[in-house]
């Protein structure tokens, strides 16, 4: 048996098909993954993401510490509550994890990191923290429910204390605030508007049940994956890992190269790789024929080395199969993917595939 979130019994009661995910027993779906996917694109769905780890960093030298630890620059965070997406690199420039960091006070920042990486992440952070005299603390007393979809914020506001609702609804994209016992962040992993709401673990079941009553559809990890894939969002362990450069995973936009004197971990290796010429482009693929693209399938491009699918699957919103992939630099707008020994034509596109309920790429005519 794996670890259980505070909502485990609730998932079982809701009829979830439970699966192991990075050592956690998590819901895969509650009946139909595709219906759950559509609920998020069209109305509101909720995910138990309590397996993700909240980490608080406190101390006078927080900012200095984070400017060393992260490839993105927390100096961009000027207003309290503002969040930033960043990679945390090793010395070789590989991605230990990707995470969101919230700026709460000059002496207090908050991370949310991936479930499967949290032990590694914490060990690494604590090791780096010593020199900066900051305290890194895992908040395993918190649960997180992500409520996502065009109706999500308006519906979920009812969960919050009345006096805090206006403030919560006024939060801009990538901002967070403490509202009573809740930590409400306007972030997500679906390509839809919504909140990720952290709360004391003891409140999670009541909150979940209240959201159910309000018509929010429970969604499992299956829908979470197809939603993030359509949104063109990377998954650590699939699209990149500790042996992958962020420059080969479409994450160049998350590297803060300036100021040049900022010495973040991995900078030297990343700079060397960039100067030598990056070998891969990170792109989207759309399968023209019927079928389903899957992780690790080989991509064949005329006259160039092979590429590889890093995340492939079916896109319920477009009815096509789509993928994120590493292809050799120089790949045009067409390629082939080897599926069970046959080469199938794919269109090479720039992700995302879907945002805010609508397809945002033009499919080639057949």
């Amino acid at each position: 048996m794996g670890s259980k979130t505070p909502l485990y019994d609730q998932h079982v009661a809701d009829g979830a098909r439970m699966v192991d995910f990075g050592g956690w027993d998590m819901p895969l779906h509650y009946g139909s993954q595709i219906e759950e996917h559509h609920a998020v694109r069209r109305a509101a769905g909720m995910f138990d993401v309590s397996h993700m780890t909240v980490v608080d960093v406190r101390g006078d030298r927080c900012r200095e510490f984070l400017q060393h630890l992260l490839a993105n620059d927390v100096a961009k965070l000027k207003q309290p509550g503002k969040a930033l997406y960043s990679c945390m690199l090793n010395e070789d420039g590989g991605v230990i994890d990707d995470l969101i960091i919230y700026f709460l006070k000059p002496t207090w920042y908050r991370f949310v990191v991936n479930a499967g990486n949290s032990e590694k992440d914490l060990a690494w952070m604590k090791k780096q923290a010593v020199a900066f005299d900051v305290v890194v603390k895992e908040r395993d007393d918190l649960a997180i429910i992500a409520v996502q979809g065009p109706d999500a914020r308006n519906v979920a506001a009812a969960l919050l204390p009345e006096e805090g609702r206006a403030e919560a609804l006024a939060l801009g994209q990538f901002f967070a605030a403490e509202i009573g016992d809740y930590f409400v962040a306007r972030t997500g992993y679906t390509g839809e508007d919504g909140w990720e709401i952290a709360m004391p673990a003891t409140m999670a079941t009541t909150a979940w049940q209240q959201l159910l009553t309000l018509g929010v559809v429970p969604c499992g990890l299956g829908a979470r994956d197809t939603l993030r894939l359509e949104a063109g969002m990377n998954l650590h362990g699939s699209d990149m890992d500790a042996n992958t450069s962020p420059l080969d995973a479409g994450l160049n936009w998350t590297i803060a190269w300036t100021p040049e004197e900022r010495d973040f971990i991995g900078r030297a290796a990343l700079t060397a790789y960039r100067n030598n010429g990056v070998k891969y482009d990170f792109v989207g693929l759309v399968l023209k024929d019927r079928g389903v693209l899957r992780n690790h399938q080989r991509i064949v491009v005329d006259g160039l080395p092979d590429g590889e699918i890093t995340s492939g699957g079916f896109s319920p919103t477009t009815g096509r199969s789509i993928a994120l992939a590493r292809v050799p630099v120089g790949t045009g707008d067409k390629a082939c993917v080897e599926v069970r020994g046959k080469l199938l034509d794919v269109q090479v596109v720039k992700p995302p595939f879907v945002r805010h309920g609508k397809a945002c790429i033009e499919f080639d005519a057949d």
Binding site: R17, L28, H29, S32, Q33, I34, G222, T226, R290, G291, V292, R294, G313, F314, P316, S321, R340
Partner: protein, 131 residues
Amino acid sequence: MSELPGDLYYTKDHEWLRPEEDGSYVVGITEYAQAALGDLVYVELPDVGQELDENDEMAVVESVKAASDVYAPIAGTVVAVNEELADDPESINTDPYGDGWIVRMTAADGVNLDDMMTPNAYQEFLDELEA
């Protein structure tokens, strides 16, 4: 889980086979298999006329989660495939023993069904899997 249809034969790979009045056999995957796979989004079918040995890969069913082979429960020849599955693969989810059929085949000489499981035997097999 619902009652297993009594007129079918079953395999350990969760295929079912139904003898038809004209002597042919219809093949599909079971309720257990469709539930394990999740929402189906694509089915790769064999060609009509294709000859199969027992346990040959006959079709591929792809769900949101994974691709999975469907094996021929008996040796024989494909005489029809369920073309409706191209547009409606989820009928395997909603009606695995009916509209979600996959292939109709004739048996090669000497085929007997004794190696396949009866509904009772398959139910016991499932109970063991879930124990």
